[in-house]
């Protein structure tokens, strides 16, 4: 087995999950700098507020569907905080909070879920791929992009979000393998929330841990307490630096839990117990960091209310702007199927255009 000196437990044989803050908010390891912690706190609070608002919007019928990441906010915001703007993010459908934390306009983030036909934001501008629904299929994209950047000599790391369930898909296997073979600067971050809709991890894999899956590719694996924002930040920061320095990919497993159903359409009471939830409530990522910061005297009332205001402002703005239905032009359906338009789509566009005109006529 190759052994490389790797920091913070980035090793072929993953150890216990890294934890820097206990659930009670006590420091149990070397913490990032105070400004990092305060930034993480702000992101957590804003992220959670956004998530709540999105859940309200789906109830009001303003969104077609919403996969909440409540409970997983640390995994969403900390890795994003550790990235440079020039780095790329490859999110799944669950990463709305991460994207908001990346700075993308929340309305753009929710565009697809709102029932529009595109991903909302400009992936090139935000160096963020469209949120990906087919499980694990974004993983080879992340590897390809990272490899491409490396070939060009650019300083770019790709962060690929994954769910525990998706690690069973062939594409994730192929991506991990390609990443290792190409030594591509990719960080695979698996949010192990214990469930894939109704399928528990125990029916998903018999691996000692998901991080252990790295071994079969020669990819260092590390486990982290996914409800400890400080730990997630430190571990992803390390992995990103590791990749940036040309050492290749890493596989991070963040242990966390989604506090709500898979999406609003799901009924989680059919497969999991109230006790399980209670256990995880005590590990809440926002409260945990907040407790530490309060006790350490870093989070003043002033800062705290500033953060609360920012979160509230974002929610209000979001509510207002989502109140109007998005303008979707049916004729744009044909515009982006190809870069070079085809005769047949032009004809279909004309037909639809005529149909719409006739309808308008009728409506008069």
């Amino acid at each position: 087995m190759t052994t490389r000196p790797a920091p913070l437990g980035l090793d072929l044989l993953p150890g216990d999950p890294v934890q820097l803050l206990s659930p009670a908010g006590e420091a149990v390891g070397e913490l990032p700098a105070p400004e990092v912690l305060l930034d993480l706190h702000r992101r957590l609070v804003v992220g959670r507020r956004f998530d709540r608002q999105a859940q309200a919007l789906v109830k009001q019928g303003r969104l077609a569907v919403y996969p909440s990441s409540s409970g997983q906010e640390a995994c969403q915001v900390a890795p994003v905080a550790a990235l440079q703007p020039t780095d790329w993010v490859f999110p799944t459908y669950r990463e709305s909070v991460a994207l908001v934390s990346r700075g993308i306009d929340p309305v753009e983030v929710l565009t697809l879920l709102r029932g529009d036909w595109h991903c909302g934001y400009n992936p090139r501008e935000w160096r963020t791929a469209p949120q990906c629904t087919p499980l694990g299929t974004q993983a080879p994209h992340a590897v390809g992009l990272a490899h491409a950047a490396r070939l060009k000599g650019d300083d770019v790391v790709a962060l690929c979000f994954l769910g525990d369930g998706s690690t069973s898909e062939g594409d994730v296997h192929e991506a991990l393998n390609f990443a290792a073979v190409y030594q591509a600067p990719v960080v695979f971050l698996v949010q192990n929330n214990g469930w894939a809709i109704s399928v528990p991890l125990s029916k998903q894999t018999k691996a000692p841990s998901i991080a252990h899956k790295g071994i079969g590719y020669g990819v260092p694996g590390v486990r982290v307490d996914g409800n400890d924002a400080a730990a997630v930040w430190s571990v992803t920061q390390t992995a990103i630096g590791w990749a940036r320095a040309g050492n290749g990919p890493t596989l991070i497993e963040a242990h966390t839990y989604r506090m709500d159903a898979h999406t609003n359409a799901d009924d989680a009471t059919r497969y999991r117990t109230e006790e399980e939830l209670t256990g995880w409530r005590d590990k809440d990522p926002v409260e945990r960091l907040e407790r530490y910061l309060r006790t350490a005297g870093l989070l003043t009332d002033e800062i705290s209310s500033g953060v609360a205001e920012e979160a509230e402002a974002l929610a209000t703005d979001l509510r207002t702007r989502m109140n109007e239905d998005p303008k979707v032009d049916p004729l744009e359906l044909f515009e982006h199927v190809y870069t070079r338009p085809t005769a047949s789509l032009r004809a279909q566009r004309e037909a639809l255009s005529a149909e719409l005109a006739a309808h308008e006529e009728d409506a008069r």
């Binding site: 077609a64 569907v65 697809l112 879920l113 029932g115 529009d116 036909w117 629904t133 087919p134 499980l135 369930g165 998706s166 069973s168 898909e169 062939g170 594409d171 894939a196 809709i197 109704s198 399928v199 029916k203 998903q204 894999t205 359409a265 799901d266 059919r270 497969y271 239905d325 998005p326 979707v328 049916p330 359906l333 044909f334 199927v337 047949s344 789509l345 279909q348 639809l352 149909e355």
Partner: protein
Amino acid sequence: MATMTMAQALNTALRDAMTEDPTVLVFGEDVGPLGGVFRITDGLTRDFGEERCFDTPLAEAGIVGTAVGMAMYGYKPVVEMQFDAFAYPAFEQITSHVAKLHNRTRGALSLPMVIRVPYGGGIGGVEHHCDSSEAYYAHTPGLRVVTPGTPEDGYRMLRDAIADPDPVVFLEPKRRYWSKGEVDTAAPGPALDSAVVRRQGSSATLIAYGPMVALAMEAAAAAEDEGWDLEVIDLRSLAPFDEQTVADSVRKTGRAVVVHEASTFGGYGAEVVARITEQCFHHLEAPVLRVGGLDIPYPPPKLEEHHLPSVDRILDAVDRLQWEATSG
């Protein structure tokens, strides 16, 4: 005789098949305690145990591939692909193995398995959740591809598909899951391979399947106002194709329109047109027309109405069947 939604009919079919035949197994993603995201497998794990109905890891090639192995050993696996586009990871298993194993072994091995695929749109689903993938499967020799349009067919055809010694891709029209109908679980019904005439008519033939059967019936009703007496055929089986029933009708009416949700270009409707044209050329008063989806990736909830066939578009197509030509 009972009134059921198609979802209930499918659930009942699985139950009855599992009760009658201990070799019938159900597996896939979330089909166990959750009962599937559409609840088609609701209660099966509870009632038949984890060995008969179980959740798998998330890996569609693995699901279909293990089903092949189980079928080789004498089981009758019924696997669920959660949504249409999520069956694509299993495409190699389906085309290179499921479709070919019987042939590759000179008939020594048969694969009595069913791949259930909820398909199509009309339910406001987001991207990748509304594909109509029937043309991919129907073009693959060795597969039987069927799709029910009514709860009764949902029951009967699923029972027949499970009993069939050949592998069957069973396409379930999502948008019909919650539509009710009378189901007689004791009635044998038409053969799995047969199309049925759902409505007799003389002016022209509407040919539909799965999600579009109800729409075609609606269009036929609406067409009465325009003085058209439309015949409606529900294909039920896409592969094999019941050419006889279709050709008989078109020879009678002289005009036809094929309706499906899938993108029109290269869609299943093209085959229907080609066959009708070849078989009924001299009976045709007008070219057989297609009313299909646009040639675009499946559009978002807000715009799917513009993509999907509608009563209006069907009537427009009927209107374009060159009525003047013959009246002269």
